[in-house]
């Protein structure tokens, strides 16, 4: 089954290779797959790709950690205190639709080039899905669990850690995976638009250097990194929740 799934991509690669070779094109936007592969090897060999990957992942992970922590905290707070949730509804809904990349010019002026700017924008982008989904996850907790908490006279902290987080955790994990996908996208976008470091910057520089093979090599690599990241997260989710988590993860 799996081998058959690879057939179409392989055919397309061969077609692209033949097309590029036979047409003898001097395109500045396309390159033959074999050239892209060689370019990828050379970018790994000279270390530039690995440094760029480290920079992008640093920004993505730090932004993800900060953004999801903030989103989680506020999501729990709003989920547990309905009046506060209603009070903040308009504010949240007003800020949430602001595209994170629209913050790039402001972040550039306020924070300058470097990790901080990328991290701030990634954190902004990751906080909202986490907040919204955590809030929804808490709203979906079986009401009887709260009755149990009351009967046991649990403190607020004990309620959060013994009842709410365990009950909402599978859905929070979905939110985390969603945020992780966003983190990588936003991190790369910030690099393409402004920040002179990381994989996005690598794509931009390769494009401007009229080196489509290297540009596409970076693109392929970003795909591989994204795939690996998702694979690791699905694995973690599966490991933590067994079949139930895995069933959701395969959707």
């Amino acid at each position: 089954m799996r081998a058959r799934g690879l057939l179409l991509p392989l055919l397309l690669l061969v077609a692209a290779e033949l097309g590029m070779r036979l047409s003898g094109t001097q395109s500045m936007a396309l390159a033959a797959p074999s050239d892209v592969f060689l370019s990828l090897l050379s970018a790994i060999g000279d270390g530039s790709l690995l440094v760029a990957t480290r920079d992008t992942l640093t920004v993505a992970f730090a932004g993800l950690a900060i953004g999801t922590a903030v989103g989680l905290a506020f999501g729990i707070l709003f989920g547990l205190v309905p009046p506060l949730n209603r009070l903040m509804e308009v504010t949240i809904e007003a800020i949430r639709p602001v595209p994170s990349v629209a913050l790039i010019p402001i972040a550039m002026l306020a924070l300058g080039f470097g990790y901080r700017m990328g991290i701030a924008i990634v954190a902004f982008a990751c906080a909202f899905p986490m907040l919204i989904l955590t809030r929804a996850a808490i709203a979906g907790i079986e009401p009887r669990l709260f009755e149990v908490a009351r009967a046991l006279r649990l403190s607020a902290m004990q309620r959060v850690f013994k009842i709410i987080l365990p009950a909402a955790f599978p859905r929070i994990m979905v939110a985390f995976r969603l945020a992780a996908g966003i983190a990588l996208v936003v991190a790369v976008t910030v690099e393409i638009a402004a920040n002179p470091l990381g994989l996005g910057y690598g794509i931009l520089i390769a494009q401007q250097a009229l080196d489509p093979a290297r540009m596409l090599a970076y693109l392929v690599w970003i795909g591989i990194v994204g795939y690996a990241l998702n694979w690791a997260l699905v694995g973690a989710q599966h490991g933590m929740f067994g079949r139930a988590g895995g069933a959701e993860a395969r959707q």
Partner: protein, 313 residues
Amino acid sequence: MKLGNGASRLGTVLAVLMGMTSIASAQEKVVIGCTATTDCASAAIAVEEGIFEKNGLDAELILIGLNSNIPAGILSNSLQIGGPTPSVFLQATDGGLDLVAVAGASSTAKETADTVAIVTRAGVEISSAKDLAGKKVGAPGIGAFLHVLFQQWLIENDVDPKSVQFVEVTFPTMSDVLQSGAVDAVVAAEPFLSRILSAGTGKVMSHYLEDLPEHQPQILYASTREWADSNPEALAAFRASIDEAAKIVNADPDKARGAISRFTKIPPEVLANMKLSVSDPVITSEQLAWWADVMNQQNMLQNEPDVDALVQK
């Protein structure tokens, strides 16, 4: 005991010295940001040939993707010196950013005017500026250097730029866009220009820079006023280095090509047949006044810039 004492003292001294040098280098380090063109060749040569170092300047050149990001990079102190186009520079200062021009990078010249052209689609009859009225023209960046100067050329040929429909088309796609008939003409520059011509998708209608004055800046070096005022020695060293490097660029273009290739990662074979922008280390308020005038005619500035104050003495 004595030995241990001596060693620990040595260690302390070394640590203090290292701390001091790291602070000193952190203060003096000058980061210069430029885009992937041949205009910052003087800075690239000054880095490669050790001219900055010789003049006591610890300088690093970094590649910036978009020219319009440079003012923000300078203002946030990520860059101490950047290479914006005059249009980006004047719009930034017009918007209230306190930047000053500290040196010239490159300027227009008759011998490089043929590196830029308005290219018309094969099969479309456009022989004069007037014929462009009502046509769709692709430009690499609306409001950017080539587009502003092209509109200036239209104005000087009595064509209202508003009568021309401009769309943004990136350099690498120009040939394909011409071929598909999506635009009637494009504003193209080397090395893309010669590729379009060899592909036969368009022909040169005018090397319009030939009709515009020479010695107008294409890229200038700028910093914040604060940095320029508080680092007179670093600025003097920068200017002396650029002055010396510009002479090398203009006298030995092949050496400059090597430096640019290593800085921008543009393959040497692409640069080999390309004319480099003329390096011109001088920037004057008269030059900025010319640009301000051009931009004012196109309603690109809100205020009348004080061009004398925009050039660091």
